[in-house]
Symmetry: C2
Subunit: 545 residues, 2 copies
């Protein structure tokens, strides 16, 4: 017997409609690619999203057609978020930091019909255009005065395009399981694969982002959106903020420390999230400006995810910013909420340092995300905080397969998604990431966490960045090799660094060698590109070998 409640689909259009009706004048602030700051609000974003919807119809974009974007976090990108998905077309946010060949691959693979791009990427688009077979229209996200001087026959101007449209548009209703947006993984190995979100998954995920046990998104909040909108939908925040009418501050192309600081200071930002590298850039700016007391800006909560956070970062965010630090673990494939690192009531009794140790874990299970760790044999391991294995997850906002079936059937026998991460889970549900399965060092049957070693190495004041990769060893199969970048003006020897490490990690974890390098390669989302390092040091001969 079915219940007799109303059968209302969970649609992305309902988010912006709600914001426009009940928070019409709530501000949305964006630093633009043309220069300067643009101020708008939810009512206007929704009105212009309706114009976008009509424009898409005029460009013959049909239900489920893909519409690509190569764009920063601006109000126009936000209008596309709602305007494209609201019609039932699929918003495909392309990461402009990928290699041009990857961008070409992704757009062709997605078969984008229209490509919206920020003028920053005009040259790139001109270069790629001949190879983008499915793209019928290129739309420069700017006004007539700032149109780029590129030569494309099918080039349109965003402001002209939508100005020519009527505001009359009623958001259609359709199956909530319909695809809403498409995002390719950042490509730490192989060709990127597409994650195809649905309206249902997006709305459920937004609801969870409002829960205080995750981020407590609410109408009084002012969010600085420092996660790019091409990175897993800016971790879902543009949807969650519309759901409650929170103020949204968008840095445009300016993710440097000074810009973020100024936006925080000027706009009353209370909450922001980003990958660790973004916070490091802000720290560097603050180091150069000791006259700034960052506490004055009044940021209440800083979320960090996408990569491990070093202890020193947590301490600085809490001490200097006076902010609450919240770690999250997630993936493009998890929308991204996987686990969230908040303390439980019982942790109130711990010392500050002990609390930080809890916060160093990736985070805890929230409702909606099932977690298990399995051994090499696929059998579930205990949640005792000690046993480690492959992390598999399940839930209504977790991917079930990739676009066009790439990578084959990815779920395990019970229907869980294998994350490729190795983790422990403690009895409270806190997940501690050991490593990516492909990065872990397999030394004589035992595993060594490259993440742990890297975090320990950067604890040394002379080390700016560190990477651990496996080097071949005749006896142990693999042994850790440390690649380190020295902090400018600092010096340190191989022996000093190894002795520093040997005082802090198990003896058999200590790397067999250290190589000092000028810089380390990164992915488009700012993570260490270990596949490249492994290639580069494939034939490295350890002194112990």
């Amino acid at each position: 017997m079915l219940g007799l409640m109303q059968d209302r689909p969970l649609l992305i259009s309902s988010l912006i409609e709600h914001a426009a009706q009940y928070h019409p004048r709530r501000e949305i602030v964006a630093r633009t690619v043309e220069g300067g700051t643009h101020r708008t609000n939810y009512a206007e974003v929704e009105r212009r999203a309706r114009r976008v919807a009509n424009a898409l119809a005029s460009l013959a974009v049909a239900f489920s057609d893909r519409v690509g974007t190569l764009a920063w976090n601006t109000h126009r990108h936000l209008e596309l978020y709602f305007g494209v998905s609201g019609t039932g077309a699929i918003l495909h946010t392309v990461n402009p930091r990928l290699f041009p060949e990857q961008i070409e691959y992704i757009i062709n693979h997605a078969e984008d019909k229209v490509l919206f791009f920020d003028i920053t990427f005009a040259a790139l688009v001109q270069q790629l255009a001949p190879k983008l077979k499915s793209v019928r229209h290129f739309v420069a996200m700017t006004d007539r005065a700032h149109m780029p001087a590129i030569d494309l026959p099918n080039l349109l101007c965003y402001e002209d395009l939508i100005a020519a449209q009527s505001e009359d548009y009623a958001w259609p209703e359709f199956d909530e399981r319909s695809a809403s947006s498409l995002c390719y993984t950042s490509g730490t190995t192989g060709n990127p694969k597409g994650v195809l979100y649905s309206h249902r998954s997006t709305v459920l995920h937004s609801l969870m982002e409002c829960a205080p046990d995750t981020f407590g998104v609410n109408s009084a909040m002012c969010l600085l959106l420092a996660v790019p909108m091409f990175h897993a939908n800016a971790w879902g925040m543009p949807y969650a903020t519309a759901m409650v009418g929170a103020k949204l501050v968008m840095p445009g192309p300016h993710l440097d420390g000074q810009s973020l600081y100024e936006l925080m200071r000027d706009e009353g930002v209370t909450f922001s999230q980003a990958v660790p590298t973004v916070w490091l850039m802000l720290f560097q700016y603050l180091d150069q400006h000791p006259e700034i007391d960052i506490k004055d800006v009044g940021v209440k909560t800083i979320g960090v995810g996408g990569a491990a956070t070093p202890r020193s970062m947590i301490e600085r965010l809490e001490r200097d910013f006076g902010a609450e630090y919240v770690q999250g673990w997630g993936m493009t494939e998890t929308s991204p909420i996987g686990v969230i690192g908040r303390l439980l009531p019982k942790h109130a009794a711990l010392s500050g340092e002990e609390q930080t140790s809890v916060k160093l874990k990736a985070g805890r299970a929230v409702w909606g995300v099932g977690l298990k760790i399995v051994g090499e044999d696929g059998k579930a391991l205990p949640h005792d905080g000690v046993a480690y294995g492959h992390l598999h997850v399940r839930g209504p906002w977790i991917a079930g397969s990739y676009f066009k079936g790439e990578g084959g059937p990815v779920l395990d026998e019970d229907g869980w998604f294998p994350t490729g991460d190795i983790a422990t889970i403690d009895p409270d549900g806190y997940v501690q990431l050991v490593d990516r399965a492909k990065d872990v060092i397999k030394s004589g049957g035992e595993w060594i966490s490259s993440i742990d070693l890297e975090n320990t190495a950067v604890g040394h004041p002379a080390v700016q960045e560190a990477a651990i990769i496996a080097a071949h060893h005749p006896k142990w199969q693999e042994r850790p090799l440390l690649l380190a970048v020295k902090r400018p003006g600092q010096n340190i020897t191989r022996e000093e660094l190894l002795s520093y490490l040997s005082q802090r990690v198990a003896k058999w974890w200590v790397p067999d060698d250290v190589v000092f390098v000028e810089q380390l390669p990164h992915t488009a989302t700012g993570k260490l590109l270990k596949s490249k390092l492994r290639e580069q040091f494939r034939d490295y001969r350890l002194p112990t070998a």
Copy 2:
């Protein structure tokens, strides 16, 4: 094209499973019907719910069969919440305060197969049993030592029943739209009608109850459940608290002021909700105990709904309790979240008194609940805070029809649910209730709000309770008649009361007469039973007539 996220149904069992796995030892405290306090936790509740599930199978309860309860807020009732719905059977919470004839009607109408009851209601059950045609088993929710001495051939003992069962049970997966629970409206007019909730509506509603813009339910919270579990699923809180693992404090049959106070003080309660009458009882207890400083208990948030809150109650909750007051409007038919009375950021600039005026409104729209007001012609009226009309609502946790089609097709042409309430909506989405459509006084084409007049009348220190009903008038069709109960030991005359009112309301709103009565009739949920008053005063002749 459908998205490629996992297809996971939203099921009530997932809530208690999550709580049991990730908040196993989080406390659930219940005052019992046998006397004393029982302490349990989510792990044990889930374990026992699995025994309940097996017990239901042993009693041949099938998917979608109704299982009735006549019970207070206790741990056993909580076990049934999850144990019954978790199997796919339908939990039917019967309001034991209804008249016996209504209870008989409801249980027969629902065709309950099994009836679980607290020993408090043993005599009632014995009396009704012969008339309850569908009930095959009666289960006294107690242990062997406390079994009531009633003579029923098919009487079972709860603790014996579940002790005989295995703990082995896997919560089944099924369509999230399946019916989960059934609750009849409280019956201010006619026969009660059944609202049939679904797993989907319940889980979505729980997610919304976690949003800070509603109640911000979270793992650190300690909730005193002062709304009966037979009143719209205790406003959904048992589900929301399980979703996040909040501590739950259940008063059992003890809703008196002293019991609530003691539970608040002893258990570290931070949040509680109830109808205004419950808070009045607590106020009366505190009046008798001036030595108590209620601020010491540290309650942070008090929710009030189900009936209008007088200004004095808000002031006292904020001043004496140091608590944040949050009004809500809802109905059994709305799960209950309709609108929630929280301030917006812009209200921070208002004076305390102006803020209270905002809080006197029923509350604001939240995502998921569509609101409109329509005139007698069914046309939508503006949200300008002035125009008033019939409030219609829409959303995934709002009823679409009643059980067995009672009352016919209830939705309006556009698929919205007519609430029977008259309201204004202001541009921020704040709903102000004018009256129930059936209670409003229609005086010569204009409407007078009985709620407003009643709230004004109880502002007089000598008035304990007041009810306004329509009395027939030859010229104006209807004019207000005030029925008032004097506060013990206080005196006031008809003229004094009318003069008090005439200084506070529009001249043409002043009642045409006052009748002092010993007491006023109430519904089973503690609301004024105006249908009874109208009957009683049907032939009342106004002095002005």
